[in-house]
Symmetry: C2
Subunit: 155 residues, 2 copies
């Protein structure tokens, strides 16, 4: 259905919540109560983000999570990749790299290269260009990229 999962949604909400609060650790409970998100599931998500080195985690009474890098350096693409795995651009692209030039017999519609593949690539590129910062302050995204037609920005 072309949709990101709830996991990703919760992850992004949590990350946005932590923007510009580096240093102090925010607990999963605080986030879950603030945005009415299932705590256990959110914890699962944050754990994954920690595994992928997008957040630091600390146990104990005053523990919690905080961003590892500034919001300008974290892309939506990274978050999605961490929480649902990088979109498999299977077929041609991957084969291209591995066997350099041979015909592709795995992807049946290869000669044309499946339209869906191309669309997925496009979406993927967009997400890799969209930072956490631009989610917090959309204006940032547009004003800092004047040469890009605002109409065509992801957000």
């Amino acid at each position: 259905m072309l949709q990101l999962t709830k996991r990703t949604e919760y992850g992004l909400i949590a990350l946005v919540h932590m923007v510009d609060r580096r240093g102090d650790f925010v607990s999963a409970r605080e986030i879950s109560e603030t945005y009415q998100v299932p705590r256990r599931l959110l914890a699962e998500v944050l754990k994954d983000l920690a595994k992928h080195a997008l957040v630091d985690s600390q146990r104990g009474a005053t523990g919690g999570y905080c961003l590892v890098r500034p919001a300008e350096e974290i892309t939506v693409g990274e978050v999605v990749a961490a929480l649902e795995g990088a979109p498999k651009l299977a077929g041609c692209e991957t084969l291209e790299a591995s066997r350099a030039g041979g015909e592709c017999d795995l992807e049946p519609s290869c000669p044309i290269r499946s339209p869906l593949q191309r669309i997925r690539e496009g979406i993927w590129r967009q997400m890799q260009r969209t930072t956490l910062r631009s989610l917090v302050e959309p204006v940032f995204h547009i004003t800092n990229l004047k040469h890009v037609d605002p109409e065509s920005t992801l957000i």
Copy 2:
């Protein structure tokens, strides 16, 4: 998993196959054999496309399907909407329209408007700007939209 369905993939493949062949009807069998796609499923997809007036269908021995409009006028967004339903931009957006101005209590993270919503909107806009033609000849898309940074085109 942020992915379009196989149905959509098959639909796009079929539509691309029919580009610039208005007039003669292409059978589901021909397409399925050309691209090694399950015939019955493809038929189901084409039926939906016909229902949404994206293709004409004709029964009988020499029947099949053909595009209703030229490839420049059919957008990927339309195809996706036909085959998997328009992405529900639930919550704020829809409520905004219906009750004009009240607080949104359905979408918990509403005050911030869920980051995921925004991303979804961006993707959706992109798909609505991407035509079938640009899937056939990517060059078309870029050269005809010179004011858009090529980096930011969907395809």
